[in-house]
Amino acid sequence: MLHDYVLLTITGLLWGGVYLLMAEGLNLIYGVMKVVNLAHGDFIVAGGLLAVTLFSTHQLSPVTALPIAGVVLLLVGLAVQTGILERLAGSGSQAEIRTLLATFGLSYIVSNVALLLWGGQVQSIPFLEGSVNIGSLAIPENLLVCSLLAFIVAGAVHFWLTQTISGKSVRATAQSELGAAACGLNIKLIRAVTFALGSGMAGAAGAVMIVLIPFQANSGGDLTVQAFTVIALGGLGDYVGAVFAALLLGLTQSFTSYFLGSNAAAATVYLLFIVVLIFRPQGLLGRAGRV
């Protein structure tokens, strides 16, 4: 029993890393643009399916496919931002709802394109299917590697945001668009870069996740909600909060799955999501809005 609990805790924490990578892109986008990209999950799926193609036709391991998927989705994100979302820039809640509706439509477009490109079957990559044995605990190898990758990418982005000028410009824009513009920052460019980067991270997350769970073209919707739950729990736009929230979500999923089955686990995510929105919209740490 204890053995099982320890294993569940470890896998839960490792999954937390994966959830973090999933959610970070969304957090970045929300922090700067106050936009929830409803197509985020579909970007993740696209990145994953792209990695599958790279694996099956060019024998590229997911580790190599990760940056490729990231770059492809980055370009897609750039196109979406400059072509669609920038035209919706308005003011206040007016723009928010319109952008939400636009990304709602976008989500269907992306999942349908994925369907056309990769078919409707569920796909995944058989990568590192062994397990690492620590004592009597058998930890899946791929989870370990993917979690590591996720934390590295997350750390890299965090480093960029806090230590470089360009990253700090992004955070400045998130905290005060007017102030940033007054400092001479090109807000349009920053928005484009942010959305592109967020989408790129989604693509990278997909390349990582497809090793762990199979995707099909329509899997995006649930992923978007999971990602949003993480950032809502952590405080929208709060980078550090998202880390705690991701780990918490990973643990919750791990234990609920074991005791109540996967249906209950899926429902738990949504329930958590709604509960957080209603009772603690500023997130667990209560520092909402700080990137």
Binding site: Q121, E129, G130, S131, E141, I213, P214, S257, G261, S262
Partner: protein, 401 residues
Amino acid sequence: MAQRNTRKTLVWLKSAMPVIALITLFSLAATSLWAADASKITVGLSITQTGPFSAPALFELHGYQLAADEINQHGGLLGKQINLIYYDDQANPSTGVQLYQKLITSDRVDLLLGPYETDLVAAVAPIVTRAKMVMPALGANIGNYQGQYPYLVQAIAQTAQYMAPVVDLAAAKGYKTIALLVQETQFPKEVAQGIRDGAAKKGLQIVFESSYPPGTTDFGPLVLKAAATRPDVIIGATYLVDAEGIVRAAKAQNVNAKIFAFTIGPVEPEFNTALGPAAQGMMGTTLWFPTLKTPGNAEFVKSYQAKFNQMPDYHAAVAYSALIALSKAVQQVGSLDQTKIRDAMLNLSFQSVCGPFKLNHTGLQIGYSSYVLQWQNGKQVLIWPKDAANATPIIPHAGWN
């Protein structure tokens, strides 16, 4: 002044564009509500082209297409060429119902074929019966063929038979305990019942049984629990995706058993592609195999490979046989009278590539039976029953390394 007018026109145009686009599409809509064709015999069906069940369903579609081609090459049906119409039901029963309504009332097809798998068959059975059109169905659950849908005939083996040879093999090797993982949908549930009955008869005990909802992707916890009971045999009443998930979880947690067997999963080539070396030794059930010595089997395999550039699986074979059976009945009757065709099918008895096709008086399939296959070194082989086998079974499972 002119500038203002131009601007006004531009604004008007900009807003009018969506309207114009919509009106265009609207007129397209009007024209599509009318359709016609009479020089061909249309055979209609819905098939699952997208979603988690699409892999085996596509094999079925190919089977139907191959049979249609062959019939057409040999002069067609009643002197006319067969035209196969199909739509994507997305494994969604309500969509299937609407599609069959469309096929029956709008496309006015001459003959119907059934959709992929039991739940969809159950959903569309009422409207097909109301329309009094015969439909050979590839739904394995016996509940639909008890006489309440007299126009439904079963063109696939009964569910209870699927896992029977696996239980047989386990008993022959002297194993005693089974852990059973069942997906919470109709077909696997009935397979599970068949396993329970079979195990009781053969003296095996089910020490662990648990079900999971479709769409489950993480089998770690479930497999962990099953492993705790130390079973000899782990059986999954599954489809493809869950079978893969269970194997992965078992490998990742280093869970061992002497036999791993799954209903639908190992029979698909996708199973091996997705799992790689982990597929070694996995057993599955099939209703047909390329090396079976049934009449016309070798030619079937060759023509299928030539046309679709892949090996057929049992779904393709049963679908192929189903359309052949239907056309035989139609030729016998000499017309498109649905009731007469149904009666002819009930009395039909012939050797298809899957074995003896025979129905009882309520439409249940009593001729077909099931076999066990295994993945050995990246290839599928038939291992049980002995007289149909083309390789020796690798038993017990060699472990995960």
